[in-house]
Symmetry: C2
Subunit: 365 residues, 2 copies
């Protein structure tokens, strides 16, 4: 039997890790490049067929006039908000308190662009029309993150989105989609990317979440918006001489994985249901609305960690590589479903869940 000294080590060496597509290693790039002709010219500072054709394809897929490739979503979204603020002559933008811009970007939007956030909703639920209606300040732009990652990937109802969109157009507020995981939510809504994007003035999507690319993002919108975004990309230092390593891999993995989003969604519901049958565990959302969810365990980390390690040692199934403490008595971790789940031996997974449940009950006494 394998013996592990930490949860991350256990997960790393587990034969059956449950999360994601696979290891993030150099092979991911090598595989994407295998089918590429070496004679293909590099993009050059945003020009050239590699980047232009990819951008055209993405614009079409998202139903927007133009799409611009960016090295990161952090850069793309700050720029989107800056453009809308400059256009409106306002400095305020509204978003969820757990938006990527608010908690993961070292205040880049404030420090670089001097934009001011207005936080909507609370930390337990997505932004709803009622939050937007109760805004007391003029804002240039409302950013909606779908799904709201930091709360387990929750989503508002589609009718709610439609109502927010109508309201924003009425009020002259630009509506921006943080669609880092856009394709992952389409099966739940039963909509095409184009239909969903029609509700928004600008859209950002990421290539290394559900699509499993290496890095990179698209910012899509109108032609004038796109031209402005290219100027800001240069200013940010994001107009690299060559972005093709990210573009070619985005293209390669998108073709493979776009057709699997329905499957990931179904599997996320399946896996969440198994977690919810365990003692002291619940998921948020209870029934996932995308390929992701959060798992909460009402047990302190020092008790829970050895249980996950033991289950991994005995069954070779890896549930998570780390636990985040929630107060002193609980822990949580994030699950997103990728290619790995479909190749798990279901019998082994059931066995691992039975063992997990048993250990949790034993520990709880």
């Amino acid at each position: 039997m394998k013996k592990y000294t930490s949860l991350s080590e256990a997960y790393k060496h587990a034969s059956y890790p449950t999360i994601g597509h696979g290891k993030r290693n150099v092979q991911v790039l090598k595989e994407a490049l295998e089918q590429c002709d070496g004679d293909l010219d590099s993009d050059m500072y945003g020009s050239g067929s590699i980047i232009e054709e990819f951008q055209e394809g993405m614009a079409q897929l998202l139903g927007k006039p133009t799409a611009v490739f960016f090295p990161s979503g952090t850069m793309a979204q700050q720029i989107a908000l800056r453009i809308w603020c400059d256009e409106a002559g306002l400095r305020k933008v509204a978003y969820h308190p757990l938006s990527h811009l608010e908690i993961h970007e070292k205040d880049g939007m404030k420090e670089l662009h001097r934009l001011e956030p207005v936080l909507l909703a609370d930390e337990t639920r997505p932004v709803l029309l009622t939050d937007v209606l109760s805004l007391k300040e003029d804002i240039a732009c409302l950013l909606l993150e779908l799904p709201q990652r930091e709360i387990g990937g929750q989503l508002p109802e589609y009718t709610e989105l439609e109502a927010i969109s109508v309201h924003c157009r009425d009020k002259g507020i630009k509506l921006h989609l943080d669609g880092a995981r856009l394709f992952e939510i389409l099966p739940f809504y039963g909509k095409s990317a184009e239909e969903l994007c029609q509700l928004f003035d600008s859209v950002y999507i990421s290539f290394y979440k559900g699509l499993g690319g290496i890095a990179g993002a698209i910012l899509a919108g109108g032609r004038e918006f796109a031209e402005q975004s290219k100027i800001w990309k240069r200013r940010h230092g994001g107009d690299l001489i060559s972005l093709y390593p990210y573009i070619l891999s985005a293209d390669y993995y998108m073709k493979q994985r776009l057709p699997r989003m329905e499957q990931y969604y179904r599997e996320a519901k399946e896996l969440a249901s198994q977690y919810n049958q365990c003692h002291a565990i619940f998921t948020i959302p209870q029934v996932p609305v995308s390929n992701m969810f959060h798992v909460y365990v009402e047990m302190p980390k020092e008790k829970l960690e050895p249980i996950f390690i033991a289950v991994c040692e005995l069954t070779d199934v890896g549930f998570t590589s780390s636990l985040r403490e929630i107060g002193e008595k609980s822990c949580m971790f994030e699950v997103n479903i990728g290619d790995r789940y479909a190749s798990l031996p279901q019998e082994r997974l059931r066995e691992a869940f039975l063992l997990l449940d048993e250990r949790l009950r034993d520990e709880a006494g």
Copy 2:
């Protein structure tokens, strides 16, 4: 005989192009990855052995406590200047009027960081001590670009650099090196990278100029400076989940080409000398001080372009892919020496220069 309709087409199809290392195509990345183990883990938001070990090696090479990898020099340098300005409580930085920051970055430094440039020297020569001594304003930082690319890659004497460095330290002015082409100038100065960098508080170098990588940059300096630069990298959207495509290729091509800098420098002097023997042509500098120089031709573009095309058709030698007009009567283009030059058949090159000289004389009447 080949027939071309444009200079760029001629250069692209020439069997003997004289500039650079080779085509910027996907093969450049494929080659760099060939010797990489696919199992190597990706860097993750600035952490992991790929990025950490590379940064340590670069810090050592440059003789600085710390080095941080950036996706671009545009980003790295704005951040360096911002850090020094914040530390000094000033918003002014001084640099050459043809600095990259002034002419190629859409005013990112001003628009994002609200820093104000003080322009030193004039557009024909590098910054000298006398320019720094005559500064009438307090500045936080002086940026020196070595070599000064937009004026043919000119350099001040080394004693001039030493004097500027001493002066800046005396006055509490931070000295930053725009060393996009740092390794290319070491043979002229007869110094190591470490010796040269000792004159500066912070140093930026690029991986896709003389080193021929794909993209990416290093910003080196003290530990506190490096920590600050990582925060700003995140704010700029440059802290990508994976930068390894650029890091692995930088590492691969640097190992190949660092030992060739002396050779490129010698070849640049050789090639410039041949240009200078042609009618109506001179180079700046007359004798190159790095692997680069600018070629000036006293002839209008509409007369010169057909000559270069004809020489290419007849000899298969490509001198340049484009001409920049200088007023109505002259043109210029940039030459940088890379791997290609050494593989040119010298007899063919001489033949091309003879023909070029002849046609220029004929045209001039």
